[in-house]
C-alpha cells in the first residue's frame, strides 16, 4: 500500500473523470492534480460540478469512467469509509452533524482505531479505557484549537452554522489525515472569522503537512492563502494556475461575469 | 458482484434440492401442470390486475412522498367496506336504509360546504387542499344517494370505493405525514407513523364489525361480497375456442350464449343444451365477470395515467416534484397541490383494488393488510417508484404465484397453503439478486 515514492509529487490525481445523472452530465472529463503538501483551491460557479467531483473523490458516487489516484493508490470506486482510513478526509458543504449527539461525541466518534467500537469488546471497559482517554485528550486539544471547546456539551444540532463547519473540520482532524477535502469551510461565516479559519488551515498545512483541496466562493479571502487554483465550469476544468494567474485569466472573468 | 451471484446460486440450489424431497417425479408434475397453462395465463391477468391496482398506489405516493406507505392496504380496505356496505345495506328488504341516506346527504352537503369555502378562499391563492378534499366527499355523497334511490351497480361501487379511499388517503397525509414532515421526521419515523395509521384504520374497521355484530345482529366480517357473477367456460375444439356463458347454462333451457374464436374469426352464436352437454366435462379455461371488469378497469387506469403524465400540465408538474421538490417549488410549481393529487389518486386506485379483492375473496378488516405485503413485493420487484416497472412486476409476480400454486397442487394439494410464500420468496430473491428491481433493466438499455 505504501508506495509514496511512486508518485511523490502529487498527492491526488483525478484523471478524466466522468459522471452523469440521467440526462445531466455533471462531470465531463475532469483532470486535476494536487501537489503533495499544497493548499489547492477549486472554484467555479454554482452547478459547475465541484461538489459532485468531491463526492466522486470521496467515494460517495462511483464515476462512470476515469480514475482517482490518492497517494499512489488507485481509490476509484472505493467506499467512503475505506478512503477515510487511507487518509483522505472530506467535509460537507451543508454540515452533516450527528444531530442527536453532543459536539464532543461528534468529534470523538471520528477517531480511528478505538477498540471500544466493537460489539465484542465494548462491554469491557478495561480494554478500551486507556485509548478512549487518549482520544478524548486529542479531541479536547483539537476543539480548543478550533475554538469550539466551549460548545462541547451542546447538542450538535443546536450550534451555529459556522461552528458546525468547525466541528466537521475537528472530526476530520481526529484521524490525522494526509489530505483534507474541504467543501466551503468558511461559508456563512463573517469575514474576520473566515480569515481566521483560513489562517488556521494554512498553519495546519504548513506545520503538519496536510494537503488540502478547498471549494470556496469567497475568492477575495481564499486567494490570500492558496497555492494553486483550478476553475471548473459545466463539468470541466477550464483554467488552472496560481491565484495571480487566475485573477488575470479572461476565461475565468468571463465565467464569473456570465454568471452574474 | 461475485458475492451476489454466489448467493443467488446458493438459493437456487436450495430450491432445487427441495424438489426430490417430495418424491414426485418431474414428469408427473409436468403432465398435471401443462394442461392448465391457458388457465394459468388467464388467472395471471386477473391476479396481476388486482396486484397492479394496489401496488401502483404505493409507487405513486412513493414518487412524491419518498417513503413506503404501510397504511396503503388499509386505505384500500376502507374503500372496499364502503362499497360492500352500500351494495348490501343501502336497501334492506326493499326499504331504503335511513342511515345510508343520512350519510349520503351529510357527505354531499359537507362536500358542498368545503367546496364553497374553497371558492371563497380561492382568490387568496390557497385552499387547494379544500378543493382536493371537497370533490371526493361530494362525489361520495352523490353516489351513496344514487345507490340508495336508484340501486348500486358496479360503476357506482367503483366510484364510492375510489372516493372514500381517496379521502382517507388524503386525510392521512394531511393529518399525519404532512405535519411530521414539517417537523423534520426521518424516513423511518414516517414509515412507523404510517403503520400507526394502518393500525388505527384497521382496528377502527374491526370495531365497526363488532358494533354491527353487537347492535345490528349483522355479520359484516369474513363475508362474501354477494355480487352475482357470470361465469364463463371455454373449450379448445379442433383449433377453435368456444366460450360459453356457463351461468346461463344453469337457467336457460335453450340458446346458451357462446362465442367461437378460431381461424374463421370471431362469431357470436348460441348453443343448445344438447350441444352444451356434448362438450367435455372439464373446460380448458374458466373465468368470471371479474376477469373482464378488472382488465377493463386496469386498461382505463393505465391509459388515464399515461394521458395525465404525458399530456397534461399536472403530469409534468408531478414529474418535476418527483424529481426534485425544492427545484419544482422554485420553478413556480404548486407542489402542495401535486402532492395532494398524488395521495388522492393513490387512494382512489387502492379503493378500486380493494373492492375487486373483496369481490374476489371475502371482505374483512385485514383484507388490505394481507394484500399490502404482496403489493410490497410487487413494488420492490418493479423498482420502487417506477410506473412500468410496477406494471410489469404485477403480472410477473402473479404468474409466478399462479404457476407456483399449480405446481404445489400437483405435488400435494395440501401444499397450496404455502401460496403466500411465493410472492414473498420472489421478493427476497429480488433483494438478494437485483435490489434495484426491474426499473434498472430499462435504464441500462437507455
Amino acid at each position: 500500500m505504501n508506495s509514496n515514492s511512486r508518485n511523490s509529487n502529487y498527492i491526488l490525481e483525478v484523471i478524466d473523470v466522468r459522471k452523469r445523472f440521467g440526462g445531466i452530465i455533471a462531470l465531463d472529463g475532469v483532470n486535476l492534480k494536487v501537489k503533495r503538501g499544497s493548499m489547492t483551491a477549486l472554484i467555479g460557479p454554482n452547478g459547475s460540478g465541484k461538489t459532485t467531483l468531491f463526492n466522486v473523490i470521496a467515494g460517495v458516487y462511483k464515476p462512470d469512467s476515469g480514475k482517482v489516484i490518492f497517494d499512489g493508490t488507485d481509490i476509484t470506486g472505493w467506499p467512503p469509509e475505506k478512503i477515510y482510513h487511507r487518509g483522505l478526509v472530506r467535509t460537507f458543504q451543508v454540515p452533516r452533524m450527528f444531530k442527536a449527539m453532543t459536539v464532543f461525541e461528534n468529534v470523538l466518534t471520528a477517531a480511528k482505531g478505538n477498540p471500544g467500537e466493537r460489539f465484542s469488546t465494548s462491554p469491557l471497559r478495561k480494554i478500551w479505557k486507556a485509548i478512549e482517554l487518549k482520544i478524548a485528550e486529542k479531541a479536547v486539544d483539537i476543539m480548543e484549537l478550533l475554538k469550539i471547546l466551549h460548545v462541547a456539551r451542546n447538542l450538535s444540532s443546536a450550534i451555529s452554522g459556522g461552528q458546525m463547519k468547525l466541528v466537521e473540520l475537528a472530526r476530520g482532524l481526529m484521524s490525522d489525515p494526509i489530505m483534507l477535502l474541504l467543501d466551503e469551510p468558511a461559508a456563512g461565516v463573517n469575514p474576520t472569522l473566515a480569515h481566521e479559519i483560513f489562517g488556521f488551515l494554512r498553519n495546519l498545512n504548513k506545520e503538519q503537512g496536510i494537503s488540502m483541496l478547498i471549494i470556496e466562493h469567497r475568492l477575495d479571502i481564499l486567494f490570500d492563502y492558496v497555492d494553486y487554483v483550478y476553475v471548473m465550469h459545466r463539468g470541466k476544468v477550464v483554467a488552472e494556475g496560481t491565484p495571480k494567474e487566475i485573477v488575470e485569466n479572461p476565461v475565468v472573468v468571463d465565467i464569473y461575469l456570465g454568471e452574474a | 458482484m461475485l458475492k451476489k451471484r454466489e448467493v443467488s446460486l446458493l438459493l437456487m440450489m436450495l430450491l432445487l434440492l427441495q424438489s426430490p424431497l417430495y418424491a414426485v417425479s418431474i414428469n408427473e408434475i409436468f403432465s398435471k401442470v401443462v394442461p392448465q397453462i391457458p388457465q394459468i395465463f388467464l388467472d395471471t391477468v386477473m391476479l396481476g390486475n388486482l396486484y397492479f391496482l394496489i401496488a401502483i398506489g404505493i409507487t405513486l405516493t412513493f414518487t412524491v412522498a419518498k417513503f413506503a406507505n404501510f397504511a396503503h392496504g388499509d386505505v384500500a380496505t376502507v374503500g372496499a367496506y364502503a362499497a360492500y356496505l352500500l351494495y348490501n345495506f343501502a336497501v334492506i328488504g326493499g326499504v331504503v336504509n335511513g342511515l345510508a341516506v343520512e350519510l349520503g346527504y351529510i357527505s354531499t352537503i359537507g362536500g358542498l360546504i368545503i367546496l364553497s369555502i374553497w371558492y371563497i378562499l380561492r382568490r387568496r391563492g390557497y385552499g387547494n387542499t379544500l378543493l382536493a378534499l371537497g370533490i371526493p366527499i361530494f362525489l361520495t355523497g352523490l353516489t351513496v344517494l344514487y345507490g340508495c334511490y336508484v340501486g348500486a351497480n358496479l360503476v357506482d361501487l367503483i366510484i364510492v370505493a375510489a372516493t372514500t379511499s381517496a379521502v382517507t388517503s388524503l386525510l392521512s397525509y394531511l393529518l399525519v405525514y404532512k405535519p411530521l414532515k414539517t417537523r423534520n421526521a426521518s424516513l423511518v419515523q414516517l414509515m412507523v407513523a404510517s403503520i400507526g395509521v394502518a393500525l388505527f384504520i384497521r382496528y377502527a374497521l374491526y370495531e365497526m364489525t363488532w358494533y354491527s355484530r353487537t347492535y345490528f345482529n349483522t355479520e359484516i366480517a369474513y363475508q362474501n361480497f354477494g355480487m352475482p357473477m357470470t361465469s364463463y367456460q371455454g373449450w379448445f375444439i379442433n383449433g377453435t375456442l368456444v366460450i360459453v356463458n356457463a351461468t346461463a347454462a344453469l337457467y336457460f333451457m335453450n340458446k346458451i350464449p357462446a362465442i367461437k374464436i378460431g381461424a374463421g374469426g370471431i362469431k357470436l352464436t348460441s348453443l343448445s343444451v344438447e350441444e352444451y352437454y356434448k362438450l367435455p366435462p372439464q373446460p380448458n379455461i374458466s373465468f368470471t365477470d371479474l376477469y373482464i371488469w378488472s382488465t377493463i378497469t386496469v386498461i382505463v387506469i393505465v391509459l388515464g395515467l399515461m394521458l395525465l403524465f404525458k399530456k397534461t400540465k399536472i403530469g409534468k408538474a408531478w414529474r418535476a416534484v418527483a424529481d426534485n421538490p425544492i427545484l419544482a417549488a422554485a420553478c413556480g410549481i404548486d407542489v402542495e397541490s401535486v402532492i395532494n393529487l398524488a395521495w388522492l389518486v393513490a387512494g382512489a386506485l387502492a379503493g378500486i383494488g380493494g373492492l375487486f379483492w373483496a369481490i374476489r375473496t371475502q371482505i374483512y378488516p385485514e383484507l388490505g393488510w394481507m394484500v399490502l405485503l404482496n403489493a410490497f413485493a410487487v413494488a420492490v420487484l418493479g423498482g420502487l417508484g417506477s410506473f412500468w416497472g410496477t406494471f410489469a412486476a404485477s403480472y410477473i409476480l402473479a404468474f409466478a404465484e399462479q404457476l407456483g400454486v399449480s405446481i404445489l397442487a400437483a405435488i400435494n394439494p395440501q401444499f397450496t397453503g404455502y401460496r403466500f410464500l411465493i410472492p414473498f420468496s420472489v421478493f427476497l430473491l429480488v433483494l438478494y439478486v437485483k435490489p434495484e428491481g426491474l426499473a434498472s433493466i430499462k435504464k441500462r438499455k437507455a
Binding site: 467512503p80 469509509e81 477515510y84 478526509v89 472530506r90 452533516r96 452533524m97 450527528f98 442527536a100 449527539m101 464532543f104 461525541e105 470523538l108 466518534t109 478505538n114 471500544g116 467500537e117 466493537r118 460489539f119 465494548s122 462491554p123 471497559r125 478500551w128 479505557k129 478512549e132 482517554l133 479536547v140 480548543e144 471547546l149 466551549h150 462541547a152 456539551r153 472530526r171 476530520g172 484521524s175 463573517n190 | 448467493v7 404501510f70 417537523r183 421526521a185 419515523q189 414509515m191 412507523v192 403503520i195 400507526g196 395509521v197 388505527f200 382496528y203 374491526y206 370495531e207 393488510w369 405485503l373 410490497f376 413485493a377 403466500f420 414473498f424 421478493f427 427476497l428 433483494l431 438478494y432
Partner: protein, 342 residues
C-alpha cells in the same frame, strides 16, 4: 433518570406492588410479561433506538426463537439453557438472512423485508403438518417445564419468573454497556447520518448487520422465554400487532434510552392489564381489544408528532472521555472566543 421517568417509574412499581398484595400469582405473571416484552423492546431499541434500523418483523424473530426452543424441548428433550441458546442462534440467523441484502439499501427495504419475513414465518408455522411436533394451526405442545422438579406451582412460577427477570437484567446490562461505550457513539452516528458516519470511516454496513443480527438473537431469547412460560405455542399469537406493541414501548419510553424503554414497556403492559380488568366493570360501546389496538396506532402517531424523544429522552454516551472534558473545562480552556459568536 430524570424527573418524569422517576415519577412514572415509582408509579409503575407501586401498581405492581398493589397487584402483588392482592394476588401473588397474577403479579408474577405481570412481572414475567414485563420482563419478556422488555427484552424484546430492548432488542428493538438496539436496532431502532441506537442504529436507526426499521425492524417491523420483530414478532417473527420472537416466533423463531419460541418455536426452535419449543421443538427442541418437546421433541428432543434438550435442556432449557441449550434451547435458549439455540433460539438465539436461529433468530440471529434469520436476522442476518434478512439483513445481508437489505441494510445496505434505503430504510424502506429493510422495513418491508422484515415485515414480510415476520408474516412469512407465521404462515410457514401455520402450514406445518398438524400431526408433527410443530403442530400447525393447532399449536405446539409438550414443552418440558425447566423447573419441573419444584412441586409447588407457585414456587415453580416464582423460580421461572425470577430466571426471566435475571435474563432481562443480563440483556439490559449488555445493551447498556454497548450503548455507553464508543460503540454506542458509532451506532448513534449511523442512525443520525449514515453518509457522515461513513465519511468518518465507520464501516456502517457491518455495524448495521451486526446490530440487526444481535437484536434478533435477543428477540430469539425472548421467544424462548415465552415458550417455556406457556409450554404451548400457537402461530396465531405471533401477529404483526405484537411487533407494533413493541414499537410503541420503544417510542413511548424514549429511543436510545434503555431505562426509558423498560419504563415504556411497563406502562404499555399495565395499561393493557388495567383495561382488561376495567372492561368487566365499565361497559363501553366498544370492543376493548380492538380499541387498544387503535390506541396503539394513535399513540405511535401522537408521540412521533409531539414527543419524538419519548418520555425519557436519550442521554449522551457515558464513557470516561467526559472526565477529560471536565478537567479541561476546570482548567479554563473552554472559553468562548471574544463573544462574537452566538
Amino acid at each position: 433518570m430524570d424527573k418524569v421517568g422517576l415519577v412514572l417509574g415509582i408509579i409503575v412499581v407501586a401498581i405492581i406492588a398493589v397487584f402483588a398484595a392482592i394476588n401473588v400469582s397474577y403479579a408474577l405473571d405481570l412481572i414475567f410479561f414485563i420482563a419478556f416484552y422488555a427484552i424484546a423492546s430492548l432488542s428493538l431499541n438496539l436496532e431502532y433506538g441506537y442504529t436507526g434500523l426499521s425492524n417491523f418483523g420483530k414478532v417473527g424473530f420472537i416466533a423463531v426463537g419460541a418455536y426452535i426452543a419449543g421443538v427442541l424441548s418437546a421433541a428432543f428433550n434438550v435442556p432449557f439453557p441449550l434451547c435458549v441458546l439455540a433460539a438465539a442462534v436461529a433468530a440471529a440467523a434469520v436476522g442476518a438472512f434478512v439483513g445481508i441484502p437489505t441494510v445496505k439499501l434505503r430504510e424502506d427495504y429493510l422495513g418491508m423485508a422484515t415485515i414480510i419475513i415476520g408474516e412469512m414465518i407465521r404462515i410457514l408455522l401455520r402450514n406445518t403438518p398438524t400431526n408433527s411436533v410443530w403442530g400447525g394451526v393447532f399449536g405446539l405442545r409438550g414443552i418440558k417445564p425447566p423447573f419441573a422438579f419444584i412441586k409447588d406451582p407457585l414456587a415453580r412460577q416464582f423460580a421461572y419468573v425470577g430466571l426471566s427477570v435475571f435474563l432481562f437484567g443480563l440483556v439490559y446490562w449488555l445493551i447498556e454497556r454497548w450503548g455507553n461505550s464508543p460503540l454506542g457513539r458509532v451506532l448513534k452516528a449511523i442512525r443520525d447520518d449514515e453518509l457522515a458516519a461513513k465519511s468518518v470511516g465507520k464501516f456502517t454496513y457491518r455495524y448495521k448487520l451486526l446490530s440487526l443480527t444481535l437484536g434478533s438473537a435477543i428477540a430469539g431469547i425472548a421467544g424462548a422465554l415465552y415458550a417455556f412460560y406457556f409450554l404451548y405455542l400457537n402461530p396465531d399469537t405471533f401477529i404483526p400487532l405484537i411487533t407494533f406493541m413493541i414499537w410503541v414501548m420503544v417510542i413511548i419510553g424514549g429511543m436510545a434510552n434503555n431505562a426509558g424503554v423498560v419504563l415504556g414497556t411497563a406502562i404499555v403492559i399495565l395499561i393493557n392489564r388495567i383495561t382488561q380488568i376495567a372492561k368487566d366493570y365499565i361497559k363501553l360501546p366498544l370492543e376493548p381489544n380492538y380499541f387498544q389496538a387503535m390506541l396503539v396506532g394513535l399513540l405511535i402517531i401522537l408521540f412521533l408528532m409531539f414527543r419524538p424523544q419519548g418520555l425519557v429522552p436519550e442521554k449522551p454516551v457515558n464513557t470516561p472521555s467526559w472526565e477529560v472534558l471536565e478537567k479541561a473545562e476546570e482548567e479554563g480552556r473552554a472559553k468562548p472566543p471574544g463573544g462574537e459568536e452566538q
